[in-house]
């Protein structure tokens, strides 16, 4: 092969490839952050409150975990298009649009899974907290903190789902070189250009990044379990 492979590119610090990796990570991290705040908040609310229609909401949330990315992409596209209700924001074909799409995609996952975790923990803590007169806000904080290992795993699941996604970001980001081109959309593009070795190399890099992120989280978890139980 006369052209450098993706590995050679990344080893030699090819600025274009690094920019793609950096964009992928920052978009997905931002989406995970926003979806984490929304999803954990929603999950905690659903776990700790009882109101009419709650059961329906829980079922709906569980169903939305399987939200097809292309549908999310299409809905965000229609909303952000200049001809759509939010067109005045001028966000279509920007990284922000991709963050919004990924956030919508993974918020239900984080909310549904964290609801289950927090609800189980609350069942365990309920009597003790009532006996200790723990005030409402402190209860929520303590439950989130004590469920932290499970919640981090849930956030990682959301991160992984967002990072692996291609359909939605392709539609709302437009795969613009140097602006909205991500790892996954690059892989799709290189595949369509028939450059399968480059596509495979990019895929392996993406998998390697996911592996590192998860290994890091696993290490942090092991360390904290040993030190905080």
């Amino acid at each position: 092969m006369d052209e450098p492979s993706a590995f050679q590119l990344i080893l030699s610090g090819d600025p274009q490839l690094l920019a793609i990796v950096r964009l992928s990570l920052s978009v997905t991290l931002a989406a995970t952050l926003v979806a984490g705040v929304l999803g954990l908040g929603l999950g905690a609310c659903l776990a700790l409150t009882r109101f009419p229609g709650r059961q329906g909401l829980v079922i709906a949330l569980n169903a939305l975990m399987g939200l097809p990315p292309v549908v999310v992409g299409l809905l965000v596209f229609l909303a952000l298009s200049r001809s759509g209700p939010l067109g005045f924001l001028g966000l279509l074909f920007t990284p922000q649009a991709m963050i919004i799409a990924q956030t919508i995609l993974i918020t239900p996952i984080i909310a549904a899974l964290s609801r289950q975790v927090i609800e189980d923990l609350w069942a365990e803590y309920k009597d003790e907290f009532t006996a200790m007169d723990v005030p409402g806000a402190m209860r929520v904080r303590a439950l989130l903190w004590d469920a932290r290992f499970s919640l981090v795993t849930i956030l990682l699941a959301g991160f992984g789902r967002a990072a692996a996604e291609v359909g939605a970001v392709m539609i709302v980001g437009g795969n613009i070189e140097g602006f909205t081109r991500m790892m996954t959309t690059s892989i799709a593009l290189e595949t369509s250009k028939g450059d399968l070795p480059l596509a495979i190399s990019l895929g392996i890099i993406l998998i390697a990044i996911m592996f590192c992120v998860n290994a890091l989280a696993w290490g942090v978890r092991q360390w904290s379990v040993r030190h905080a139980g």
């Binding site: 931002a30 298009s81 279509l92 437009g174 602006f179 593009l189 028939g194 450059d195």
Partner: protein
Amino acid sequence: MKSHAFAIMLGALALVGNPAAAQQQSIVVASTTSTQDSGLFGHILPLFKAVSGIDVKVIAQGTGQALDTGRRGDADVVFVHAKPQEEKFVADGYGVKRFNVMYNDFVLIGPKSDPAKVRGGKDILAALKAVQAAAAPFVSRGDKSGTHSAELALWKAAALDPASAKAPWYREIGQGMGAALNTSGAMGAYVLSDRATWLSFKNKDALELVVEGDARLFNQYGIILVNPAKHPSVKVAAGQAFIDWIISKSGQAAINGYKINGAPLFFANAD
């Protein structure tokens, strides 16, 4: 607690840059997969940026989808290759004016085994008839792209209609040019491609060029500024600057200067 969450969200959005600042001096061009996959934009856009300072963000779609992106106001300029559709776009008031930019030609690609025995022919209509007669697999883009419309027009000119007939050997895949070539290679099928994408395509393996040189395979590209009267968000000055440059002497020279293995992919022909 709520304002806290909001602050995190704002921070997250700020993490990837302020859109207003990033969009300064940049335009969105809705174009076709053939211009992007062939690498043309990678060659000419840095030259334009050097003289104008304007960033061109290219969304590569099929011609039909690219025109629709323009119609919705989500692009400032469309740069496509299906003249009748482009003229309708302007006539309907979505575009300001259409300019010829360049042309290349379509070529018929087929499996090396050549089951329809069309290799080396110069008559595309005869070749299509032979494909139908042999019931050899044929991959159609099926995505309303410029190449797709050209392909349909050729079938019509040959007085054949495998798409409506739902012939089992005629396979619409609804994807871009590169994907259609990949699929054809895997299925041992014939496929109509633009020459530029074919030349830059890297997974040729089982495929080869079988028919070329017919005048009916001519493929004209045009460029249109999206009408600001329909969409005030259109960046008229920067968009017009791009159009003016690409049909200027230096823009046309840049197009002619893009070659793969010494062979030009596009031929500039602005009026």
